[in-house]
């Protein structure tokens, strides 16, 4: 049989038509999709065994307990540590992606001097020159650490100044400190025993204090209950995230929190709901109603609600003496479920302020928020792990990043008991990084290194025989055979918790009802995030959902 050109064309067309009903083209299409999805330049995670480590987060002073999944020496996942006595497995949203921060494009890796690359030796020379010429001011944003002790000791040896930048939770405790003489860093809120919490704009469910501390209490004792064991009353001018979930949201005019506190005090006294303790507010209930936008009856009703379930404690968003005075009237100072003294040893720190302007040089620790503004002509040595953009600092000095440095974790702000943990270095630090404490140790070799101070602190806890160590199980300190064993537990992620202070210990003397402070805009956790950059996955919050508005000046 002769094969013609026509036959060839017919067979080819038939084969082409027949091919469509076979799996071949579909399989090819499928394979193509697989090939195109696995280009060699697309990163693939390393197939290596994963091990679990425990530590504490050091990105802010709340020191959340961490479970870190490690693969090939790098952290590949972060979760909360359920055995942590304060955070109980909770983290802030950004903490879940904190392990990506060390590779953020804005990670500082070299010393920079006024925009140009420089070196550690040049920075040391410049610092030594400044040190010889005049006073040095050291600013710390996370006081109480072993590294803070190094900074403070250097400032003392130098006849310089050591100043701290405090968070809003600590600032809110300042009035009690000034009226009682007890340092604000020794005070805390006994929320665990409170039954009514009146928040004057404090973001109680949105980053106030250690993540998980109040949210866990609220979830267990309040959420979804019409008559909860823990009543959260949120006073806010807008329906904030906390207000949306509170037992009662009281809407008032913005900035009238102090007036409402005074009005509530007047209503409490007018109705004889509390004994007259301390000064009488100058504002009447009617005047408070005019200024806050509430009715006088609503203020009186709120006063009755507050004393309806005690202990009740009022919490200010920031330093607000009127709200502190309301707590005095409620008898919530030095009592169970109120403001308590957690420590006898804490020292008062001076807030960063005037001393800076007269300094020859200012050294700013990495724990200080990036946008801390320093009006000074002094030479500024700014330590940071990430470059947050525009800065007035002369020197940018790279420090170890997330989990790259051994540090200790003192008591978080506003806690009612003392805690202590150790965050060991789990990750090999990036090259050429030094913390401020390490830098000062090279300048002044007589300083005791932070590691030794941590060792001494662990020994002191062992020697005091007080409190418990919370690890996989809770062990009283008295049961540890040696300080080394206790320290080893802390290095593995356990947390020491001191004994609860007995009621009393704070005696406030207040002569007149305090004047209303001038309040700035309320702060929240995202604005207070000490790192100048955010983990890239924060984009889920800021770009890909409408849950939050992106904080200014931060890079997502």
């Amino acid at each position: 049989m002769k094969v013609t050109r026509r036959d060839l064309l017919v067979w080819s067309a038939g084969a082409a038509a027949g091919l469509i009903v076979t799996p071949v083209p579909w399989k090819l299409l499928d394979d193509t999709s697989i090939w195109s999805q696995n280009w060699p330049w697309i990163p693939q995670p390393a197939r290596v065994p994963v091990e679990m480590k425990q530590s504490s987060c050091t990105l802010c002073p709340n020191g959340c307990g961490l479970r870190v999944r490690m693969a090939a020496g790098w952290p590949v996942g972060v979760a909360g540590l359920s055995t942590h006595p304060v955070t109980r497995g909770a983290l802030c949203p950004l903490g879940f992606a904190a392990h990506q921060l060390n590779w953020h494009p804005q990670r500082l890796r070299t010393v920079r001097h006024r925009g140009s690359n420089s070196s550690w030796s040049e920075a040391q020379r410049a610092f030594a020159k400044a040190r010889a010429e005049g006073p040095i001011v050291i600013i710390d944003g996370y006081p109480g650490r072993a590294a803070s002790s190094v900074l403070e000791t250097f400032a003392q040896k130098q006849n310089g100044s050591y100043r701290v930048v405090e968070g809003p939770e600590t600032r809110a405790l300042k009035p009690y400190a000034s009226w009682s003489g007890v340092p604000a860093s020794a005070l805390g809120y006994d929320l665990e025993n409170a039954e009514t919490v009146i928040s004057f704009g404090a973001p109680m469910l949105d980053g106030w204090g250690a993540p998980g501390r109040f949210t866990r209490l609220w979830a267990e004792r309040a959420a979804g209950r019409s008559d909860p064991q823990l009543r959260l009353i949120q006073i806010d001018s807008t329906l904030s995230r906390t207000a949306a979930r509170s037992w009662q949201w009281i809407s008032i005019r913005q900035g009238s929190e102090s007036t409402l506190a005074a009005g509530l005090a007047a209503a409490l006294l007018e109705q004889k709901l509390v004994p007259a303790r301390g000064p009488i507010p100058a504002v009447s209930v009617d005047e408070a109603a005019m200024q806050t936008g509430m009715t006088a009856d609503a203020i009186r009703e709120l006063a009755r609600t507050i004393v309806g379930r005690t202990p009740a404690v009022a919490i200010a968003a920031d330093d607000n003496p009127s709200i502190a005075a309301l707590n005095l009237l409620l008898g919530a100072v030095g009592t169970l479920g109120g403001i308590v003294r957690r420590s006898k040893d804490a020292v008062d720190h001076i807030a960063a302020g005037d001393a800076i302007s007269s300094a020859r040089a200012v050294l700013i620790d990495a724990s200080v928020p990036w946008d801390f503004i320093h009006q000074t002509d002094a030479e500024v040595f700014r330590f940071a792990a990430w470059d947050g953009g525009s800065t007035k600092a002369d020197w940018l000095l790279p420090v170890p990043g997330f989990l790259e440095e051994l540090t200790d974790v003192p008591t978080a702000p506003a806690l009612a008991v003392e805690t202590y943990a150790v965050a060991p270095s789990l990750v090999k630090p990036a090259s050429e990084v030094q913390s401020a404490a390490q830098f000062l140790a090279t300048v002044e070799p007589s300083l005791i290194p932070a590691e030794k101070i941590i060792h001494t602190r662990c020994y002191n806890i062992f020697r005091a025989l007080k409190g418990n160590v919370h690890g996989d199980e809770i062990t009283p300190v008295a049961k540890f055979a040696s300080a080394q064993k206790l320290e080893a537990q802390l290095w593995k992620g356990a947390v020491w918790v001191g004994e609860a202070s007995p009621p009393g210990g704070i005696r406030c003397e207040l002569k007149g009802w305090p004047a209303a402070p001038v309040l700035g805009a309320a702060e929240n956790w995202s604005a207070l995030w000490p790192a100048p950059v955010l983990p890239p996955l924060a984009s889920k919050l800021y770009n890909e959902s409408s849950l939050r508005e992106a904080p200014d000046r931060r890079t997502v």
């Binding site: 999944r69 790098w74 590949v76 979830a219 979804g224 809407s251």
Partner: protein, 249 residues
């Protein structure tokens, strides 16, 4: 006995913090691409803010985490997939997405009544070095395919491997917990086996306060919500009838 994994999310406990969204993305190696928006990003868990529609002091708001509902009956995405890239795993009840089979036609996205599926528009990319932080148990997200929640299937595999190593046939329930459940700071998300009538989640799903979104479609979603608030429970009906402040594609 086959499992039917599901969740009950207590909306009265959800504070809308977004921890579940970030923990999910970190667990599943979702890249954080700067070009991604609310319409184009991959958010296997997306927390929506909803309100009762009122204004002023009577306004109330709540937060609803939306993810794949793992529909059990007439699963819409399974029915429309031309590639058999989606199937309901009979052993677990999980609606599985197989990216290797997916051609990216997006029929499933159209069919999903919950808008819980996302198209991956871009090759995954991370800043230099950040690939070291990827979860070794999960592949990176491929371009050109559809993504969704798979109830952290890699964690289920790990739990199975662990059980097998111990010579067990059943996994320990504590070993398999999805990332969003683990991350929730208020324990609002409860996960368990709905096939077990004594499982706490199964019991909770039968509570009078429990409801499912668009239940009348008859797809039998395995994701339940619960709330004491009647206006929140009313959201079980078509979401467009209520105030929703998040848009996505």
């Amino acid at each position: 006995m086959n499992a039917r994994y599901g969740m009950v999310i207590d909306l009265d406990r959800c504070t809308g913090c977004g921890s579940c969204m970030i923990a999910c993305a970190a667990e599943n190696n979702v890249p954080a691409l700067p070009q991604a928006t609310a319409r184009t990003g991959i958010t296997p868990v997306l927390v929506r803010k909803v309100s009762n529609g009122a204004e002023g002091s009577v306004r109330r708001e709540a937060f609803i985490p939306i993810m794949c509902m793992h529909c059990e009956h007439d699963t819409p995405c399974v029915k429309v997939c031309p590639q058999q890239a989606v199937e309901v795993d009979k052993a677990t009840g999980i609606v599985m997405q197989m990216p290797q089979r997916c051609l990216g036609c997006r029929y499933c996205m159209t069919a999903c009544p919950y808008h819980a599926r996302y198209f991956n528009w871009w090759d995954p990319a991370w800043p230099t070095g950040m690939e070291k932080s990827l979860n070794p148990g999960v592949a990176v997200r491929m371009r050109g395919v559809v993504e969704k929640c798979n109830l952290c299937h890699a964690r289920l595999h790990a739990a199975k491997e662990k059980a097998a190593a111990l010579g067990k046939h059943e996994i320990d329930a504590a070993e398999y917990v999805p990332a969003c459940v683990e991350a929730c700071p208020t324990n609002a998300i409860h996960f368990g086996n709905l096939a077990d009538p004594n499982d706490p989640v199964s019991i909770e799903s039968r509570s009078p306060e429990a409801f499912r979104l668009l239940a009348k479609l008859g797809t039998e979603p395995k994701l339940y919500y619960r709330s004491k608030e009647s206006w929140v429970r009313a959201l079980a009906e078509p979401i467009s009838a209520h105030s929703s402040e998040v848009q996505h594609g």
